[in-house]
């Protein structure tokens, strides 16, 4: 059973992620009054990329991207997808937090080997942005874990299934709002699209990727979209009893986030970090204090 889950959950994540990628392009096009590409366009892109003959800058260039994709895939194994969570008993939220590191770190190592300054700038921005949103995110997650007195995400989901969504329960409301405020930053979309920023720094960490490397990076991107939203759904929207509801919840969140993406221009990196360290952090901090008071 666990083996099936282990295969199933990454596959599902991959499909949903790629679907979201296509969906985002389509919806963005519609918002911008365009016809837009077919919804399968990411798949076509990935196929094309896999068939291209790329250049490699060295062993680490290959390994880094593998590392990054593997990190994302493993992370999916720790996330409860509705009732599916293959690695529920292997470390809980803390491992998830750490696994979220792997993907950017892998890309960073791989990109670093390519010796392209654009890449380095992108990576530097990625890490700064990550530091920016981790401050509120950690406060939020700690508030959750402190409130539910567990570090296992499965427990958090199951408690919410019994007692209602965290997002609408009072002590965690502020944390939830803070999470919503930083969700675009976690997903890396506008107004926090400073990392890729293809107009500025030639798509940053991706600058030297072509062919299969870019395909892997695209898949990784799709997975990270999935992870960011699935984490929110699990933590604040109570997960789901079956896959369909889970998917619907994710879809709603994603479309809402896309509107933000379409409506807002890109921030500069300092502006982004200042924003992240101001309002979401403040909310998360107050939320944490409320949680502590409630716990007393």
């Amino acid at each position: 059973m666990q083996m099936i889950e282990m295969i199933l959950s990454p596959l599902l994540a991959l499909i949903i992620g790629i679907f979201f990628l296509g969906l985002s392009r389509k919806i963005m096009a519609r918002i911008q009054w365009r016809y837009g590409p077919p919804i399968t366009q990411p798949v076509i892109d990935v196929i094309r990329l896999f068939s291209q003959k790329s250049v490699s800058h060295g062993k680490l260039f290959n390994l880094g991207i593998i590392f990054s994709l593997a990190g994302s895939l493993v992370l999916v194994l720790f996330l409860p997808l509705a009732q599916i969570c293959p690695l529920s008993g292997s470390g809980g939220m803390l491992v998830i937090l750490y696994m979220m590191l792997l993907a950017p770190l892998g890309i960073a190592l791989s990109g670093g080997e390519s010796a392209n300054p654009n890449t380095s700038i992108g990576i530097s921005r990625k890490f700064i942005l990550a530091l920016g949103y981790e401050v509120p995110l950690l406060l939020i997650l700690l508030a959750l874990m402190t409130h539910y007195k567990t570090i296992s995400i499965v427990h958090i989901v199951s408690i919410q299934q019994n007692t209602g969504w965290a997002f609408v329960s009072l002590p965690l409301l502020l944390s939830g709002i803070a999470y919503v405020l930083i969700l675009p930053a976690i997903l890396g979309i506008r107004p926090f699209e400073v990392v890729q920023a293809s107009q500025e720094i030639s798509s940053g960490p991706m600058a030297e990727y072509g062919g299969p490397f870019l395909a892997l990076a695209t898949i990784q991107h799709a997975l990270s979209l999935f992870i960011g939203i699935a984490l929110f759904v699990n933590l604040f929207l109570g997960g789901a009893g079956n896959l369909l509801i889970f998917f619907l919840k994710m879809l709603v969140v994603f479309v809402l986030v896309l509107f933000v993406n379409a409506a807002l221009p890109r921030l500069r990196i300092e502006q982004a970090v200042k924003y992240l360290w101001r309002w979401p952090t403040l909310l998360a901090f107050i939320g944490m204090i409320i949680v502590l008071i409630v716990r007393r």
């Binding site: 896999f50 068939s51 790329s54 250049v55 490699s56 800058h57 060295g58 290959n62 991207i65 593998i66 590392f67 994709l69 593997a70 895939l73 493993v74 194994l77 690695l87 008993g89 292997s90 470390g91 939220m93 803390l94 937090l97 750490y98 696994m99 590191l101 792997l102 960073a108 080997e113 010796a115 392209n116 654009n118 380095s120 700038i121 990576i123 530097s124 890490f127 700064i128 990550a130 530091l131 950690l138 700690l142 508030a143 402190t146 007195k149 567990t150 570090i151 427990h155 030639s202 600058a207 062919g211 299969p212 490397f213 395909a215 892997l216 990196i269 300092e270 970090v273 944490m288 949680v291």
Partner: protein, 617 residues
């Protein structure tokens, strides 16, 4: 008997090594390696010898006692192993330098005194070895001259302040209980008032906090680490600084005892809680300062300060998980920081002492093994799952969250995220990016440098995937302090509030990596290109300039730099200057005019008589 023999071999070996150096370098080096390896073997043989005490000497009527238990075995093993690796690493690094005899003497001496500290069964021998460690370290830190001199002076002054505080503590214990045997003290101290215990803990904490570079007392460390000879950095950062940790464990859990130590003070102002907060501050601020550093060794130094905070937080929380996390982190940190310093050493060895991050780059092609070592080192430092740093950090986080210290947990976690920034900066600036033209002909690190690096790299993975092996030992330490035993399995820890199972993670990561690799293999094979062949908007790559290193995290720097000056150091320096001017003022008493001097004499006589009349003593 074997403990005395051990110390005699350790100290005698140091001196004999020095003398052999007068005969021949090769014999000396061989002997140094032999001594340090034989110490490792001897200590390994001591495993499981619990609670044997032996009086080996009398000092001022005090019996000096050596004893073994699990705690000391654990630390001794780490000290001797890392010491041996450092010696091996030194062989090539120190070749063709002046005063290598002296260097080996002091290196072995530091190791020997650390072993002395660890095996001490009474506080006086603890203190003696502590002081010997301090001054021999001082001599080694200053070894490199130049800025190292100031660093050494700073170190020894702070160290003396610490040891003076400890001396007061030791002597006050002696005055109160008439014994300095740790075991006896631990029994006797039950009758002490909580005020006295608090005094004891604070006065010892000053000493240990200075050694462990806890935040307001950390200022010696960055300069000292940056300037010490790099092979010695391993010993310095790995174990010597962590003698402070050992000291904390000793005073809090062995002598004062867990239950008493954790109940001192009231409300939020409990001793251990404040200590934990200091630890948390020590995690956050140095981590962010480390991000700003451009000097490889300074960066690692600040990172070591920050990592020290984890250990303090871990043991100060006072749960079995936290304690184990703290102790385990001490070991893990020692392993990876030694590895990282060795990597810097290898780079320095091949580049002629270059350690400015901005002028390196692209060494991955030239020194691949060193790179792998560094990669594993920073993985451990960040705490990537499946490296050893993860397990210990996991334990600490978990206990912080479950015990209801979310802000401490926040500090610890944010420290990790800051850690990624400087770790990546470290590896990127040295190994990735463009190789400067002058380093085109750099060779691989020699084997004697690679060997310790390889061993340590394996250790990182080994302890990361099989954390149960050290954790079992640490668990016995914890239970000997009176904590509940953890449910340690070989793969991690099982408990109802969240378990850790490294083998699952390992298997998953392995399988998934293979899948990802296969995915990469779907496409046509990639063509390897030279490093110059990167995208530069169609232009040719400028030589030596196409590497983004200076102000790597520039936007972040602009935001945090104003808040991250080392205020504490500045304050201490100001204080030192103030003392200096005070001293300068004081010596004006001796005016040089003999009339004044005679006046002093007359005044003194008058003072004596005045006191007599006033108080009729």
């Amino acid at each position: 008997m074997s403990l005395e023999l051990l110390l005699i071999i350790a100290f005698g070996g140091a001196i004999v090594t020095y003398l052999l150096g007068k005969i021949s370098c090769r014999i000396r080096e061989g002997f140094a390696v032999l001594i340090s390896l034989s110490l490792v073997v001897m200590i390994a043989c001591l495993y499981g010898e619990n609670g044997t005490e032996s009086i080996y000497f009398h000092f001022l009527g005090l019996p000096l006692i050596m004893r073994t238990n699990m705690l000391s075995w654990f630390f001794a093993m780490a000290v001797s192993a890392l010491g041996a690796l450092s010696v091996i690493f030194s062989l090539n690094y120190m070749k063709n330098r002046e005063r290598t005899d002296f260097y080996y003497l002091m290196l072995l001496m530091v190791n020997a005194s650390m072993l002395g500290i660890i095996f001490s069964g009474d506080l006086i021998s603890f203190f003696i070895f502590w002081e010997m460690m301090s001054w021999s370290t001082f001599l080694l830190i200053s070894y490199n001259r130049g800025p190292a001199v100031a660093a050494g002076l700073k170190y020894i002054i702070m160290s003396i302040i610490g040891s003076m505080a400890m001396l007061v503590g030791v002597l006050s214990l002696y005055a109160t209980y008439e014994t300095l045997n740790m075991a006896t003290l631990a029994e006797l101290i039950g009758s002490a008032s909580s005020g006295y215990l608090l005094f004891l803990l604070i006065i010892f904490s000053i000493a240990f906090a200075i050694k462990n570079a806890l935040m307001p007392l950390h200022t010696w460390l960055p300069a000292a680490y940056a300037e010490a000879p790099t092979p010695f950095n391993g010993v310095l950062s790995g174990m010597l600084t962590r003698m402070g940790m050992y000291g904390f464990l000793l005073i809090m859990y062995v002598i004062v005892g867990a239950t008493r130590a954790l109940n001192l003070g009231s409300g939020l102002f409990k001793f251990h809680y404040i200590l934990a907060w200091l630890g948390a501050i020590t995690i956050v601020i140095p981590t962010f300062i480390a991000i700003l550093q451009d000097d490889a060794k300074k960066l690692l130094a600040w990172s070591a300060v920050g990592q020290g905070g984890y250990m303090i937080v871990g043991i100060a929380v006072g749960t079995n998980l936290g304690l184990s996390g703290g102790i385990f982190h001490t070991l893990n940190h020692a392993i990876y920081i030694v590895l990282l310093f060795m990597c810097v050493g290898a780079i320095q060895y091949r580049t002629g002492g270059e350690r400015d991050l901005n002028s390196l780059g692209g060494f991955i092609k030239k020194m691949p093994f060193t790179f792998i070592g560094t990669l594993l080192g920073i993985s451990g430092l960040v705490g990537i799952p499946l490296t050893n740093g993860f397990v210990s950090k996991w334990l600490i986080y978990k206990t912080l969250i479950l015990e209801g210290y979310p802000f401490l947990a926040f500090a610890a976690l944010i420290g990790t995220w800051g850690c990624i920034l400087y770790c990546y900066k470290f590896i990127h600036h040295i190994f990735l990016g463009q190789l400067p033209g002058k380093y085109q002909n750099v060779q691989k690190a020699p084997f004697s440098m690679l060997l310790p690096m390889i061993i340590l790299s394996f250790a990182i993975l080994f302890f990361g995937i099989l954390p149960g092996i050290p954790l079992k030992i640490i668990d016995t330490i914890g239970t000997s302090f009176g904590f509940k035993s953890m449910n340690v399995t070989i793969w991690g820890i099982a408990s109802e509030t969240g378990t850790l199972n490294t083998i699952n993670i390992f298997a998953a990561v392995l399988i998934v990596s293979i899948i990802a690799w296969l995915m990469l293999k779907i496409g046509p094979k990639a063509v390897s290109v030279a490093q110059e062949d990167t995208y530069a908007a169609g232009a040719a790559i400028p030589k030596d300039k196409y590497h983004y290193t200076v102000d790597f995290y520039n936007p972040l720097y602009r935001m945090i730099t104003p808040y991250l000056k080392d205020f504490i150091d500045a304050f201490y320096m100001k204080f030192a200057h103030w003392i200096q001017s005070l001293c300068n003022g004081t010596r004006r008493v001796y005016t040089g005019y003999v009339g004044n001097y005679v006046m002093y004499i007359v005044l003194f006589l008058a003072l004596l008589i005045f006191i007599r009349l006033k108080w009729s003593l």
